[in-house]
């Protein structure tokens, strides 16, 4: 596969390490009430759709950017690639 890196353009997927569901961006607050239950869902409940999926890929043999790749898991078509840092900020993560 080729992943169209937002900064570097198309790069071979062999240069990346795959992590999985981009929902891992949404880490709960570990000190909040009910943290264990929230973390249980966060750590173990993952989407695994046959179709469009938002995934985390790490450009380990590249610029070390974490990317959010929207990919159709059936056809391998890649619909969108963004820097995970940008997605994280947009979705409310900060410090």
């Amino acid at each position: 596969m080729l992943i169209n890196h937002p900064i570097l353009g198309p790069r071979d997927a062999q240069e990346f390490v795959y992590l999985g569901d981009a929902n891992l961006l949404h880490r709960p607050d570990g000190l909040a009430e009910g943290a264990i239950a929230a973390f249980h869902d966060y750590a173990y409940q993952r989407g695994n759709p046959a179709g469009e999926h938002r995934e985390l890929w790490y450009h380990e043999q590249g610029d070390r950017s974490w990317l959010v790749v929207t990919r159709n898991t059936v056809t391998h078509e890649i619909l969108k690639v963004e820097l995970a840092r940008d997605v994280a900020r947009r979705e409310g993560r900060s410090r």
């Binding site: 900064i7 570097l8 071979d12 240069e15 380990e60 043999q61 590249g62 610029d63």
Partner: protein, 186 residues
């Protein structure tokens, strides 16, 4: 300074130079290296500070040569800076002093082995080593790439000249694959 004798990454007193057909591979032992990363929100300040000392901070995927400072982009808001080792062995301290709290600076000189590779046409060699489209890459192109499992930084300095930075501990393995591949082109 200290009475300790340095060794090259290949474990010799002097850098190695090999000529295989039209390909010349030269180990470089005379370049100091440091990483420079902008502190959060300080990219602008870093740019001005860098300008003040003539330090280039090139765009992604590029290298910019200068005197004494050259640099190439390695990651968002991070560069590797090169300078002559003889005059800049203390590269990290100098950069830190010049750039202040706009940056995080880390010495990288001995983390890498550097090979300069020259040939009239480097495409036949590099299409057997790296997935980069070197033939189409412009002069000044810089990228990380994997060569036989070894992660390296590649800089296209001229049409027939490439600089490779590989992990210092794998210097012998990296040279081996360069050598074997160059020989297969004879």
């Amino acid at each position: 300074m200290a009475n300790l004798k340095p060794l090259t990454a290949l474990g010799h007193d002097a850098p190695e130079v090999l000529s295989i057909g039209a390909v010349r591979i030269s180990e470089r032992f005379d370049v100091a290296l440091a990483s420079v990363a902008a502190r959060r929100g300080k990219a602008g300040d870093l740019a001005s500070a860098a300008q003040g000392i003539g330090l280039p901070l090139p765009a992604p995927a590029t290298h910019q040569a200068g005197d004494p400072w050259s640099a190439f982009w390695v990651a968002p808001e991070m560069w590797f800076v090169e300078a002559p080792f003889a005059s800049h062995e203390d590269i990290a301290a100098r950069l830190k002093a010049a750039l202040g709290d706009t940056t995080s600076v880390t010495e990288q000189t001995d983390a890498w082995v550097r090979f300069d590779i020259a040939a009239p046409d480097l495409a036949p060699l590099f299409e057997r080593l790296s997935n980069l489209d070197l033939a189409r890459a412009p002069v000044g192109f810089a990228s990380r790439t994997v060569i036989e499992h070894v992660g390296t930084y590649l800089v296209k300095r001229a049409a027939g000249e490439v600089v490779l930075y590989g992990p210092r501990s794998s210097a012998a393995s990296l040279l081996h694959v360069l050598e074997v591949t160059a020989k297969s082109l004879l």
